[in-house]
Protein backbone atom coordinates (compact mmCIF):
# COMPACT_ATOMS: atom_id res chain seq x y z
CA UNK A 1 0.00 0.00 0.00
CA UNK A 2 2.38 2.66 -1.19
CA UNK A 3 -0.14 5.53 -1.38
CA UNK A 4 -1.35 5.39 2.24
CA UNK A 5 2.20 4.81 3.48
CA UNK A 6 3.38 8.08 1.94
CA UNK A 7 0.43 9.97 3.48
CA UNK A 8 1.12 8.44 6.87
CA UNK A 9 4.65 9.63 6.41
CA UNK A 10 3.43 13.20 5.93
CA UNK A 11 1.60 13.48 9.28
CA UNK A 12 4.59 11.88 10.91
CA UNK A 13 6.80 14.44 9.21
CA UNK A 14 4.51 17.24 10.38
CA UNK A 15 5.13 16.12 13.91
CA UNK A 16 8.86 15.49 13.45
CA UNK A 17 9.44 18.94 11.98
CA UNK A 18 7.58 20.82 14.68
CA UNK A 19 7.86 18.92 17.91
CA UNK A 20 11.11 20.71 18.73
CA UNK A 21 9.22 24.02 18.80
CA UNK A 22 6.47 22.57 20.97
CA UNK A 23 8.89 21.21 23.49
CA UNK A 24 10.84 24.47 23.60
CA UNK A 25 7.58 26.35 24.15
CA UNK A 26 6.50 23.92 26.86
CA UNK A 27 9.80 24.42 28.68
CA UNK A 28 9.37 28.22 28.56
CA UNK A 29 5.77 28.00 29.77
CA UNK A 30 6.86 25.73 32.59
CA UNK A 31 9.46 28.28 33.70
CA UNK A 32 7.06 31.21 33.41
CA UNK A 33 4.40 29.46 35.47
CA UNK A 34 6.87 28.87 38.21
CA UNK A 35 8.50 32.28 38.38
CA UNK A 36 8.39 35.80 37.01
CA UNK A 37 9.07 36.96 33.50
CA UNK A 38 12.27 38.68 34.58
CA UNK A 39 13.98 35.31 34.89
CA UNK A 40 13.90 34.75 31.13
CA UNK A 41 16.85 35.73 29.00
CA UNK A 42 16.45 38.13 26.07
CA UNK A 43 16.62 35.29 23.54
CA UNK A 44 13.87 33.42 25.38
CA UNK A 45 11.70 36.52 25.47
CA UNK A 46 12.08 36.99 21.73
CA UNK A 47 11.39 33.30 21.09
CA UNK A 48 8.26 33.23 23.26
CA UNK A 49 5.73 34.84 20.85
CA UNK A 50 7.17 32.99 17.86
CA UNK A 51 6.93 29.63 19.61
CA UNK A 52 3.41 30.49 20.82
CA UNK A 53 2.21 31.23 17.31
CA UNK A 54 3.97 28.13 15.96
CA UNK A 55 2.17 25.99 18.55
CA UNK A 56 -1.21 27.54 17.75
CA UNK A 57 -0.73 27.03 14.04
CA UNK A 58 0.32 23.42 14.68
CA UNK A 59 -2.87 22.97 16.69
CA UNK A 60 -5.13 24.05 13.87
CA UNK A 61 -3.19 21.90 11.39
CA UNK A 62 -3.32 18.90 13.70
CA UNK A 63 -7.06 19.31 14.23
CA UNK A 64 -7.59 19.30 10.49
CA UNK A 65 -5.22 16.56 9.44
CA UNK A 66 -4.25 14.33 12.35
CA UNK A 67 -6.34 11.65 14.02
CA UNK A 68 -3.83 11.18 16.85
CA UNK A 69 -6.03 12.09 19.83
CA UNK A 70 -3.10 12.29 22.27
CA UNK A 71 -1.24 14.72 20.01
CA UNK A 72 -4.25 17.04 19.59
CA UNK A 73 -4.90 16.94 23.35
CA UNK A 74 -1.27 17.82 24.03
CA UNK A 75 -1.33 20.76 21.64
CA UNK A 76 -4.66 22.01 23.01
CA UNK A 77 -3.42 21.94 26.59
CA UNK A 78 -0.15 23.63 25.65
CA UNK A 79 -1.88 26.35 23.57
CA UNK A 80 -4.28 27.11 26.41
CA UNK A 81 -1.49 27.40 28.99
CA UNK A 82 0.45 29.62 26.60
CA UNK A 83 -2.53 31.80 25.81
CA UNK A 84 -3.29 32.57 29.44
CA UNK A 85 0.35 33.29 30.18
CA UNK A 86 0.84 35.60 27.20
CA UNK A 87 -2.50 37.38 27.36
CA UNK A 88 -2.86 37.24 31.12
CA UNK A 89 -1.14 39.59 33.51
CA UNK A 90 1.06 42.03 31.68
CA UNK A 91 2.39 43.99 34.65
CA UNK A 92 4.50 43.24 37.66
CA UNK A 93 2.83 42.90 41.02
CA UNK A 94 4.37 46.16 42.17
CA UNK A 95 3.00 48.10 39.21
CA UNK A 96 -0.47 46.65 39.75
CA UNK A 97 -0.24 47.52 43.43
CA UNK A 98 0.75 51.11 42.68
CA UNK A 99 -1.99 51.48 40.08
CA UNK A 100 -4.59 50.19 42.52
CA UNK A 101 -3.90 53.06 44.90
CA UNK A 102 -3.33 55.70 42.23
CA UNK A 103 -6.21 54.91 39.89
CA UNK A 104 -8.43 51.90 40.41
CA UNK A 105 -9.54 52.41 44.00
CA UNK A 106 -10.60 56.08 43.78
CA UNK A 107 -12.11 55.51 40.34
CA UNK A 108 -14.17 52.58 41.62
CA UNK A 109 -15.43 54.62 44.58
CA UNK A 110 -16.23 57.60 42.34
CA UNK A 111 -18.28 55.45 39.99
CA UNK A 112 -20.43 54.42 42.97
CA UNK A 113 -21.44 57.94 43.95
CA UNK A 114 -25.17 57.48 43.43
CA UNK A 115 -25.30 54.32 45.55
CA UNK A 116 -23.07 55.95 48.16
CA UNK A 117 -25.52 58.83 48.63
CA UNK A 118 -28.51 56.49 48.92
CA UNK A 119 -26.77 54.26 51.48
CA UNK A 120 -25.55 57.28 53.48
CA UNK A 121 -29.10 58.60 53.61
CA UNK A 122 -30.32 55.19 54.80
CA UNK A 123 -27.75 55.17 57.58
CA UNK A 124 -28.82 58.68 58.58
CA UNK A 125 -32.46 57.56 58.46
CA UNK A 126 -31.75 54.58 60.75
CA UNK A 127 -29.90 56.83 63.18
CA UNK A 128 -32.60 59.49 63.19
CA UNK A 129 -35.40 56.93 63.59
CA UNK A 130 -33.85 55.26 66.60
CA UNK A 131 -32.92 58.62 68.15
CA UNK A 132 -36.53 59.76 67.79
CA UNK A 133 -37.89 56.51 69.24
CA UNK A 134 -35.59 56.55 72.27
CA UNK A 135 -36.10 60.27 72.88
CA UNK A 136 -39.88 59.73 73.00
CA UNK A 137 -39.90 56.48 74.93
CA UNK A 138 -36.67 55.31 76.64
CA UNK A 139 -38.06 51.77 76.81
CA UNK A 140 -37.15 51.46 73.13
CA UNK A 141 -33.49 51.64 74.06
CA UNK A 142 -33.31 48.03 75.27
CA UNK A 143 -35.06 46.80 72.17
CA UNK A 144 -32.51 48.53 69.95
CA UNK A 145 -29.28 47.76 71.79
CA UNK A 146 -28.26 44.41 73.23
CA UNK A 147 -27.25 44.62 76.90
CA UNK A 148 -23.61 43.60 76.36
CA UNK A 149 -23.13 46.38 73.82
CA UNK A 150 -24.74 49.02 76.03
CA UNK A 151 -22.53 48.23 79.07
CA UNK A 152 -24.14 50.77 81.38
CA UNK A 153 -24.74 53.47 78.78
CA UNK A 154 -28.50 53.53 79.06
CA UNK A 155 -31.28 56.04 79.64
CA UNK A 156 -31.27 57.24 83.24
CA UNK A 157 -27.54 56.64 83.78
CA UNK A 158 -25.79 59.54 85.52
CA UNK A 159 -23.88 62.07 83.44
CA UNK A 160 -20.71 61.21 85.37
CA UNK A 161 -21.02 57.53 84.49
CA UNK A 162 -21.58 58.39 80.86
CA UNK A 163 -18.63 60.79 80.89
CA UNK A 164 -16.49 57.99 82.25
CA UNK A 165 -17.30 55.75 79.27
CA UNK A 166 -16.14 58.47 76.88
CA UNK A 167 -13.05 59.75 78.67
CA UNK A 168 -12.20 56.94 81.10
CA UNK A 169 -9.39 54.46 80.82
CA UNK A 170 -10.35 51.45 78.69
CA UNK A 171 -11.50 48.46 80.71
CA UNK A 172 -9.76 45.98 78.42
CA UNK A 173 -6.03 45.60 78.93
CA UNK A 174 -5.12 44.33 75.47
CA UNK A 175 -5.52 47.28 73.15
CA UNK A 176 -4.02 45.40 70.25
CA UNK A 177 -6.43 42.48 70.56
CA UNK A 178 -9.36 44.86 70.80
CA UNK A 179 -8.24 46.68 67.66
CA UNK A 180 -7.70 43.45 65.76
CA UNK A 181 -10.99 42.01 66.85
CA UNK A 182 -12.85 45.15 65.79
CA UNK A 183 -11.09 45.18 62.44
CA UNK A 184 -11.77 41.54 61.58
CA UNK A 185 -15.35 41.66 62.84
CA UNK A 186 -16.26 44.87 61.01
CA UNK A 187 -14.60 43.65 57.82
CA UNK A 188 -16.56 40.42 57.94
CA UNK A 189 -19.82 42.35 58.39
CA UNK A 190 -18.97 44.61 55.44
CA UNK A 191 -18.05 41.66 53.25
CA UNK A 192 -21.37 40.03 54.11
CA UNK A 193 -23.22 43.26 53.26
CA UNK A 194 -21.48 43.19 49.90
CA UNK A 195 -21.96 39.49 49.22
CA UNK A 196 -25.69 39.71 49.95
CA UNK A 197 -26.08 42.59 47.52
CA UNK A 198 -27.13 40.49 44.54
CA UNK A 199 -30.57 39.93 46.19
CA UNK A 200 -31.63 43.22 44.58
CA UNK A 201 -29.59 45.11 47.20
CA UNK A 202 -32.25 44.62 49.87
CA UNK A 203 -30.06 42.83 52.48
CA UNK A 204 -27.29 45.42 51.99
CA UNK A 205 -29.70 48.26 52.64
CA UNK A 206 -31.24 46.53 55.66
CA UNK A 207 -27.83 45.82 57.16
CA UNK A 208 -26.84 49.48 56.82
CA UNK A 209 -30.16 50.67 58.27
CA UNK A 210 -29.64 48.37 61.29
CA UNK A 211 -26.14 49.76 61.80
CA UNK A 212 -27.71 53.17 62.33
CA UNK A 213 -30.06 51.95 65.08
CA UNK A 214 -27.63 51.59 68.03
CA UNK A 215 -25.93 54.76 66.91
CA UNK A 216 -29.12 56.82 67.18
CA UNK A 217 -30.11 55.24 70.49
CA UNK A 218 -26.73 56.00 72.08
CA UNK A 219 -26.74 59.51 70.64
CA UNK A 220 -30.11 60.16 72.24
CA UNK A 221 -28.90 58.96 75.65
CA UNK A 222 -25.74 61.08 75.58
CA UNK A 223 -27.57 64.09 74.20
CA UNK A 224 -30.05 64.01 77.08
CA UNK A 225 -27.14 63.95 79.55
CA UNK A 226 -25.65 67.03 77.86
CA UNK A 227 -22.72 65.01 76.50
CA UNK A 228 -23.73 65.02 72.82
CA UNK A 229 -20.64 66.69 71.34
CA UNK A 230 -18.33 64.66 73.61
CA UNK A 231 -19.89 61.42 72.37
CA UNK A 232 -19.73 62.47 68.75
CA UNK A 233 -16.07 63.45 69.15
CA UNK A 234 -15.33 60.09 70.81
CA UNK A 235 -17.09 58.28 68.00
CA UNK A 236 -15.75 60.36 65.13
CA UNK A 237 -12.13 59.53 65.77
CA UNK A 238 -12.57 56.14 64.09
CA UNK A 239 -16.22 56.43 63.15
CA UNK A 240 -15.75 58.67 60.14
CA UNK A 241 -13.48 56.07 58.56
CA UNK A 242 -15.47 53.05 59.72
CA UNK A 243 -18.91 54.34 58.78
CA UNK A 244 -17.60 55.59 55.45
CA UNK A 245 -16.23 52.11 54.77
CA UNK A 246 -19.54 50.51 55.81
CA UNK A 247 -21.42 52.90 53.52
CA UNK A 248 -19.11 52.03 50.62
CA UNK A 249 -19.57 48.29 51.22
CA UNK A 250 -23.33 48.79 51.20
CA UNK A 251 -23.03 50.90 48.05
CA UNK A 252 -21.08 48.08 46.32
CA UNK A 253 -23.80 45.62 47.33
CA UNK A 254 -26.50 47.98 46.09
CA UNK A 255 -24.70 48.45 42.77
CA UNK A 256 -24.75 44.69 42.18
CA UNK A 257 -28.36 44.48 43.32
CA UNK A 258 -29.52 47.20 40.96
CA UNK A 259 -27.50 45.71 38.10
CA UNK A 260 -29.27 42.37 38.62
CA UNK A 261 -32.70 43.97 39.03
CA UNK A 262 -32.42 46.57 36.25
CA UNK A 263 -29.82 45.35 33.75
CA UNK A 264 -30.82 47.91 31.13
CA UNK A 265 -29.89 47.16 27.53
CA UNK A 266 -27.30 44.52 28.51
CA UNK A 267 -28.29 41.01 29.50
CA UNK A 268 -28.51 40.28 33.19
CA UNK A 269 -25.30 38.23 33.33
CA UNK A 270 -23.20 40.91 31.65
CA UNK A 271 -24.70 43.60 33.89
CA UNK A 272 -23.89 41.61 37.05
CA UNK A 273 -20.35 40.95 35.84
CA UNK A 274 -19.81 44.65 35.06
CA UNK A 275 -21.08 45.66 38.50
CA UNK A 276 -18.85 43.05 40.13
CA UNK A 277 -15.79 44.33 38.29
CA UNK A 278 -16.49 47.91 39.31
CA UNK A 279 -17.17 47.09 42.93
CA UNK A 280 -14.40 44.53 43.48
CA UNK A 281 -11.68 47.17 43.67
CA UNK A 282 -13.84 49.32 45.94
CA UNK A 283 -14.34 46.37 48.31
CA UNK A 284 -10.60 45.77 48.53
CA UNK A 285 -10.40 49.45 49.51
CA UNK A 286 -13.13 49.00 52.13
CA UNK A 287 -11.05 46.34 53.86
CA UNK A 288 -8.06 48.70 53.91
CA UNK A 289 -10.24 51.49 55.34
CA UNK A 290 -11.53 49.17 58.05
CA UNK A 291 -7.96 48.30 58.94
CA UNK A 292 -7.29 52.03 59.45
CA UNK A 293 -10.49 52.34 61.48
CA UNK A 294 -9.49 49.41 63.69
CA UNK A 295 -6.11 50.99 64.37
CA UNK A 296 -7.72 54.37 65.14
CA UNK A 297 -10.29 52.79 67.42
CA UNK A 298 -7.83 50.56 69.24
CA UNK A 299 -5.08 53.10 69.78
CA UNK A 300 -5.87 56.69 68.86
CA UNK A 301 -9.20 56.81 70.67
CA UNK A 302 -7.64 55.97 74.04
CA UNK A 303 -4.56 58.10 73.49
CA UNK A 304 -6.29 61.29 72.32
CA UNK A 305 -8.39 62.55 75.21
CA UNK A 306 -9.45 66.14 74.43
CA UNK A 307 -12.64 66.79 72.52
CA UNK A 308 -11.19 69.28 69.95
CA UNK A 309 -8.30 66.94 69.20
CA UNK A 310 -10.72 64.06 68.67
CA UNK A 311 -12.78 66.17 66.31
CA UNK A 312 -9.59 67.18 64.51
CA UNK A 313 -8.49 63.56 63.99
CA UNK A 314 -11.95 62.35 62.95
CA UNK A 315 -12.60 65.31 60.70
CA UNK A 316 -9.11 65.09 59.24
CA UNK A 317 -9.62 61.43 58.33
CA UNK A 318 -12.97 62.24 56.71
CA UNK A 319 -11.43 65.13 54.76
CA UNK A 320 -8.60 62.86 53.67
CA UNK A 321 -10.91 60.13 52.33
CA UNK A 322 -13.18 62.63 50.60
CA UNK A 323 -10.23 64.34 48.93
CA UNK A 324 -8.63 61.03 47.96
CA UNK A 325 -11.81 59.68 46.39
CA UNK A 326 -13.57 62.68 44.93
CA UNK A 327 -11.09 65.43 44.07
CA UNK A 328 -10.88 65.38 40.29
CA UNK A 329 -7.50 64.56 38.88
CA UNK A 330 -5.83 63.59 35.68
CA UNK A 331 -6.27 59.84 35.28
CA UNK A 332 -5.44 57.25 32.71
CA UNK A 333 -8.44 55.95 30.78
CA UNK A 334 -7.83 52.29 31.49
CA UNK A 335 -9.08 51.65 35.01
CA UNK A 336 -8.73 47.90 34.75
CA UNK A 337 -6.52 46.51 37.43
Amino acid sequence: MPASASVAYSTAAFRREREGDWQAFEALVERLERGSISRLSDEDLLALPRLYRATLSSLSLARATSLDAALVAYLEALSMRGYFLLYGVRESRLARFARFFAVSWPAAVRSLWRETIIIALLLALGTAASWWLVANDPAWFHALIPAELASGREPGASAAALRETVYGKPDHDGLSIFATFLFTHNSQVSITAYALGFAFGVPSMMLIFYQGLPLGALLSVFWDAGLGPDFIAWLSIHGTTELFAAILAGACGLRIGTAVAFPGPRDRLAAAADAGKQSGAAMLGVIIMLLCAGLLEGFARQLVQSMPMRFAVGGGMLAFWLAYFYVPRHTVRDTQL
Partner: protein
Protein backbone atom coordinates in the same frame (compact mmCIF):
# COMPACT_ATOMS: atom_id res chain seq x y z
CA UNK B 1 -27.05 -2.61 12.29
CA UNK B 2 -29.54 -1.18 14.79
CA UNK B 3 -30.21 2.47 15.53
CA UNK B 4 -29.78 2.28 19.32
CA UNK B 5 -25.93 2.24 19.49
CA UNK B 6 -25.78 5.03 16.91
CA UNK B 7 -28.06 7.15 19.10
CA UNK B 8 -25.92 6.27 22.12
CA UNK B 9 -22.77 7.39 20.32
CA UNK B 10 -24.45 10.60 19.23
CA UNK B 11 -25.60 11.26 22.82
CA UNK B 12 -22.09 10.72 24.13
CA UNK B 13 -20.69 13.21 21.62
CA UNK B 14 -23.45 15.70 22.52
CA UNK B 15 -22.58 15.38 26.23
CA UNK B 16 -18.96 16.15 25.46
CA UNK B 17 -19.95 19.13 23.33
CA UNK B 18 -22.39 20.48 25.93
CA UNK B 19 -19.47 21.29 28.20
CA UNK B 20 -17.30 22.87 25.53
CA UNK B 21 -17.31 26.63 25.04
CA UNK B 22 -15.98 28.60 22.12
CA UNK B 23 -12.99 30.68 23.15
CA UNK B 24 -11.34 32.25 20.15
CA UNK B 25 -7.86 33.71 20.62
CA UNK B 26 -6.80 36.87 18.77
CA UNK B 27 -4.98 34.53 16.39
CA UNK B 28 -8.36 33.10 15.39
CA UNK B 29 -7.99 29.67 16.98
CA UNK B 30 -10.83 28.23 19.03
CA UNK B 31 -9.30 26.86 22.23
CA UNK B 32 -12.56 24.99 23.07
CA UNK B 33 -12.48 25.45 26.83
CA UNK B 34 -14.27 22.79 28.79
CA UNK B 35 -16.39 23.78 31.81
CA UNK B 36 -15.26 22.07 35.02
CA UNK B 37 -17.86 19.76 36.54
CA UNK B 38 -19.52 20.40 39.90
CA UNK B 39 -17.71 17.38 41.36
CA UNK B 40 -14.31 18.79 40.45
CA UNK B 41 -15.25 22.18 41.89
CA UNK B 42 -16.43 20.62 45.12
CA UNK B 43 -13.31 18.46 45.54
CA UNK B 44 -11.10 21.50 44.91
CA UNK B 45 -13.00 23.42 47.58
CA UNK B 46 -12.69 20.55 50.05
CA UNK B 47 -8.93 20.33 49.46
CA UNK B 48 -8.57 24.09 49.97
CA UNK B 49 -10.66 24.11 53.14
CA UNK B 50 -8.66 21.18 54.52
CA UNK B 51 -5.38 22.94 53.75
CA UNK B 52 -6.66 26.12 55.42
CA UNK B 53 -7.68 24.18 58.51
CA UNK B 54 -4.31 22.44 58.70
CA UNK B 55 -2.48 25.78 58.42
CA UNK B 56 -4.74 27.36 61.04
CA UNK B 57 -4.15 24.43 63.36
CA UNK B 58 -0.36 24.56 62.86
CA UNK B 59 -0.25 28.33 63.44
CA UNK B 60 -2.36 27.97 66.58
CA UNK B 61 -0.01 25.29 67.91
CA UNK B 62 3.04 27.44 67.19
CA UNK B 63 1.47 30.49 68.83
CA UNK B 64 0.38 28.53 71.91
CA UNK B 65 3.55 26.55 72.51
CA UNK B 66 6.24 28.30 70.51
CA UNK B 67 6.04 31.76 72.08
CA UNK B 68 7.18 32.86 75.55
CA UNK B 69 4.38 33.33 78.10
CA UNK B 70 4.45 37.13 78.10
CA UNK B 71 3.57 37.40 74.43
CA UNK B 72 0.04 36.07 74.88
CA UNK B 73 -1.69 39.32 73.92
CA UNK B 74 0.31 39.81 70.75
CA UNK B 75 -0.15 36.16 69.85
CA UNK B 76 -3.92 36.43 70.08
CA UNK B 77 -3.92 39.57 67.92
CA UNK B 78 -1.65 37.81 65.43
CA UNK B 79 -3.96 34.80 65.38
CA UNK B 80 -7.02 36.96 64.70
CA UNK B 81 -5.32 38.71 61.80
CA UNK B 82 -4.00 35.41 60.46
CA UNK B 83 -7.45 33.85 60.59
CA UNK B 84 -8.96 36.85 58.81
CA UNK B 85 -6.30 36.82 56.08
CA UNK B 86 -6.61 33.08 55.58
CA UNK B 87 -10.40 33.19 55.37
CA UNK B 88 -10.59 36.06 52.90
CA UNK B 89 -7.33 36.14 51.01
CA UNK B 90 -6.33 32.51 50.51
CA UNK B 91 -8.43 32.22 47.38
CA UNK B 92 -7.75 35.76 46.17
CA UNK B 93 -3.97 35.56 46.48
CA UNK B 94 -3.67 32.22 44.69
CA UNK B 95 -6.11 33.06 41.92
CA UNK B 96 -4.12 36.19 41.12
CA UNK B 97 -1.03 34.07 40.37
CA UNK B 98 0.02 33.02 36.86
CA UNK B 99 -1.98 29.78 37.03
CA UNK B 100 -5.18 31.44 38.35
CA UNK B 101 -5.86 28.53 40.67
CA UNK B 102 -5.72 27.70 44.38
CA UNK B 103 -3.76 24.60 45.43
CA UNK B 104 -7.02 22.63 45.46
CA UNK B 105 -7.88 23.77 41.94
CA UNK B 106 -4.38 22.93 40.74
CA UNK B 107 -4.60 19.45 42.18
CA UNK B 108 -7.85 18.64 40.40
CA UNK B 109 -6.66 20.51 37.26
CA UNK B 110 -9.01 23.48 36.90
CA UNK B 111 -8.52 27.23 36.70
CA UNK B 112 -10.43 30.52 36.72
CA UNK B 113 -10.95 32.33 33.41
CA UNK B 114 -12.59 35.66 32.59
CA UNK B 115 -15.85 34.92 30.81
CA UNK B 116 -15.34 37.59 28.14
CA UNK B 117 -11.97 36.13 27.16
CA UNK B 118 -10.07 39.14 28.47
CA UNK B 119 -7.64 39.45 31.30
CA UNK B 120 -8.56 38.19 34.75
CA UNK B 121 -8.58 41.45 36.72
CA UNK B 122 -7.89 41.86 40.43
CA UNK B 123 -11.36 43.33 40.75
CA UNK B 124 -13.00 40.20 39.29
CA UNK B 125 -11.03 37.87 41.51
CA UNK B 126 -11.83 39.92 44.62
CA UNK B 127 -15.52 40.07 43.72
CA UNK B 128 -15.85 36.36 43.02
CA UNK B 129 -14.15 35.41 46.26
CA UNK B 130 -15.80 37.87 48.64
CA UNK B 131 -19.14 36.41 47.57
CA UNK B 132 -17.82 33.09 48.86
CA UNK B 133 -18.36 34.58 52.30
CA UNK B 134 -22.08 34.28 51.72
CA UNK B 135 -21.96 30.94 49.95
CA UNK B 136 -19.85 28.98 52.39
CA UNK B 137 -19.61 30.78 55.68
CA UNK B 138 -23.15 32.18 55.99
CA UNK B 139 -24.84 28.74 56.25
CA UNK B 140 -22.29 27.83 58.93
CA UNK B 141 -22.98 31.09 60.74
CA UNK B 142 -26.73 30.42 60.67
CA UNK B 143 -26.22 26.96 62.14
CA UNK B 144 -23.86 28.20 64.84
CA UNK B 145 -26.12 31.14 65.65
CA UNK B 146 -29.23 29.02 65.97
CA UNK B 147 -27.45 26.52 68.21
CA UNK B 148 -26.24 29.31 70.48
CA UNK B 149 -29.46 31.19 71.09
CA UNK B 150 -33.06 30.25 70.52
CA UNK B 151 -34.24 33.80 70.01
CA UNK B 152 -35.52 32.97 66.57
CA UNK B 153 -37.96 30.20 65.87
CA UNK B 154 -36.85 26.93 64.32
CA UNK B 155 -38.88 27.64 61.22
CA UNK B 156 -36.98 30.88 60.58
CA UNK B 157 -33.63 29.14 60.94
CA UNK B 158 -34.67 26.31 58.64
CA UNK B 159 -35.95 28.75 56.04
CA UNK B 160 -32.84 30.91 56.22
CA UNK B 161 -30.60 27.87 56.00
CA UNK B 162 -32.55 26.57 53.02
CA UNK B 163 -32.26 29.94 51.30
CA UNK B 164 -28.50 30.18 51.79
CA UNK B 165 -28.04 26.54 50.76
CA UNK B 166 -29.95 27.15 47.54
CA UNK B 167 -27.64 30.10 46.85
CA UNK B 168 -24.60 27.97 47.66
CA UNK B 169 -25.75 25.28 45.24
CA UNK B 170 -26.44 27.84 42.53
CA UNK B 171 -23.83 26.26 40.28
CA UNK B 172 -25.86 23.07 40.02
CA UNK B 173 -28.71 24.94 38.36
CA UNK B 174 -26.94 26.46 35.34
CA UNK B 175 -25.22 24.99 32.32
CA UNK B 176 -22.00 26.90 32.82
CA UNK B 177 -21.50 25.72 36.42
CA UNK B 178 -21.19 29.30 37.65
CA UNK B 179 -21.62 29.95 41.32
CA UNK B 180 -22.90 33.33 42.55
CA UNK B 181 -19.32 34.59 42.79
CA UNK B 182 -18.60 33.67 39.18
CA UNK B 183 -21.74 35.49 38.15
CA UNK B 184 -20.67 38.68 39.84
CA UNK B 185 -16.98 38.41 39.07
CA UNK B 186 -17.65 37.70 35.39
CA UNK B 187 -15.64 34.48 35.49
CA UNK B 188 -16.03 30.78 34.96
CA UNK B 189 -13.95 27.78 35.92
CA UNK B 190 -12.59 25.53 33.19
CA UNK B 191 -10.40 22.46 32.91
CA UNK B 192 -6.71 23.34 32.83
CA UNK B 193 -5.37 20.26 31.15
CA UNK B 194 -1.66 19.57 31.39
CA UNK B 195 -0.68 16.68 29.19
CA UNK B 196 2.75 15.40 28.39
CA UNK B 197 3.79 14.72 24.83
CA UNK B 198 3.29 11.05 24.05
CA UNK B 199 5.10 8.75 21.67
CA UNK B 200 3.92 8.74 18.06
CA UNK B 201 2.52 5.20 17.80
CA UNK B 202 1.09 5.78 14.36
CA UNK B 203 4.27 6.56 12.46
CA UNK B 204 6.29 3.37 12.98
CA UNK B 205 5.20 2.39 9.46
CA UNK B 206 8.19 4.38 8.26
CA UNK B 207 10.11 1.21 9.11
CA UNK B 208 7.62 -1.64 8.65
CA UNK B 209 8.43 -5.02 10.11
CA UNK B 210 8.66 -7.87 7.64
CA UNK B 211 6.03 -10.09 9.26
CA UNK B 212 3.52 -7.30 9.96
CA UNK B 213 0.00 -8.27 8.90
CA UNK B 214 -1.34 -6.29 5.96
CA UNK B 215 -5.03 -5.32 5.77
CA UNK B 216 -7.17 -4.89 2.69
CA UNK B 217 -9.15 -1.66 2.10
CA UNK B 218 -12.35 -3.60 2.87
CA UNK B 219 -10.92 -4.69 6.23
CA UNK B 220 -10.03 -1.09 7.03
CA UNK B 221 -13.43 0.28 6.05
CA UNK B 222 -15.36 -1.02 9.07
CA UNK B 223 -14.48 1.69 11.61
CA UNK B 224 -14.66 5.48 12.09
CA UNK B 225 -12.70 8.15 13.97
CA UNK B 226 -14.26 7.30 17.32
CA UNK B 227 -13.18 3.64 17.14
CA UNK B 228 -9.71 4.64 15.91
CA UNK B 229 -9.18 6.89 18.90
CA UNK B 230 -10.53 4.29 21.33
CA UNK B 231 -8.01 1.86 19.83
CA UNK B 232 -5.28 4.47 20.34
CA UNK B 233 -6.30 4.71 24.00
CA UNK B 234 -6.12 0.94 24.41
CA UNK B 235 -2.67 0.82 22.80
CA UNK B 236 -1.33 3.62 25.03
CA UNK B 237 -2.71 2.02 28.19
CA UNK B 238 -0.80 -1.26 27.89
CA UNK B 239 -3.42 -3.47 29.59
CA UNK B 240 -2.82 -7.01 28.18
CA UNK B 241 -6.24 -8.45 29.00
CA UNK B 242 -7.98 -5.44 27.46
CA UNK B 243 -5.82 -5.75 24.35
CA UNK B 244 -6.75 -9.38 23.95
CA UNK B 245 -10.47 -8.54 24.10
CA UNK B 246 -10.15 -5.68 21.64
CA UNK B 247 -7.94 -7.65 19.25
CA UNK B 248 -10.38 -10.57 19.24
CA UNK B 249 -13.33 -8.22 18.63
CA UNK B 250 -11.59 -6.69 15.63
CA UNK B 251 -10.52 -10.13 14.31
CA UNK B 252 -14.11 -11.36 14.53
CA UNK B 253 -15.40 -8.24 12.83
CA UNK B 254 -13.05 -8.49 9.84
CA UNK B 255 -13.15 -12.29 9.71
CA UNK B 256 -9.59 -13.21 10.67
CA UNK B 257 -8.55 -16.22 12.80
CA UNK B 258 -8.41 -15.53 16.58
CA UNK B 259 -4.68 -16.25 16.87
CA UNK B 260 -1.40 -14.38 16.79
CA UNK B 261 0.39 -11.63 18.68
CA UNK B 262 -2.22 -9.14 19.94
CA UNK B 263 0.21 -6.25 20.33
CA UNK B 264 1.57 -6.63 16.82
CA UNK B 265 -1.89 -7.14 15.32
CA UNK B 266 -3.39 -4.12 17.06
CA UNK B 267 -0.57 -1.68 16.31
CA UNK B 268 -0.40 -2.77 12.67
CA UNK B 269 -4.18 -2.38 12.36
CA UNK B 270 -4.04 0.99 14.12
CA UNK B 271 -1.26 2.31 11.87
CA UNK B 272 -2.91 1.23 8.65
CA UNK B 273 -6.36 2.40 9.75
CA UNK B 274 -4.98 5.79 10.80
CA UNK B 275 -3.00 6.20 7.57
CA UNK B 276 -6.08 5.39 5.53
CA UNK B 277 -8.38 7.69 7.47
CA UNK B 278 -5.92 10.57 7.49
CA UNK B 279 -5.66 10.29 3.75
CA UNK B 280 -9.47 10.37 3.52
CA UNK B 281 -9.41 13.43 5.76
CA UNK B 282 -7.25 15.27 3.24
CA UNK B 283 -9.98 14.56 0.68
CA UNK B 284 -12.60 15.99 3.01
CA UNK B 285 -14.01 12.64 4.11
CA UNK B 286 -14.51 12.20 7.82
CA UNK B 287 -16.40 9.22 9.21
CA UNK B 288 -17.23 10.00 12.84
CA UNK B 289 -17.98 6.43 13.93
CA UNK B 290 -18.72 2.98 12.59
CA UNK B 291 -22.47 3.68 12.38
CA UNK B 292 -21.95 6.31 9.71
CA UNK B 293 -21.95 5.07 6.16
CA UNK B 294 -18.52 5.32 4.52
CA UNK B 295 -18.55 8.18 1.99
Amino acid sequence: MTAAPAIGAARQAARRNAKQRRFVTPEGIDLQLEIASAGLRFSALLIDLTLMLVILFAVTLILVFGLPGGAGQAALALWLVGFFLLRNFWFIAFELGPRAATPGKRLVGIRVVARDGGRLTVSSVVARNLVREMEIFLPFAFLAGSAEQDLVSTATVVLALLWTLILSCFLLFNRDRMRMGDLIGGTWVVLARRSKMQADIGSASAHPQADEPQFTPAELAVYGVYELQELERVLRQGDTALRRTVADTIRTKIGRPLTGDDEQFLSAYYRQLKARMERDLLFGKRRANKYEEPQ
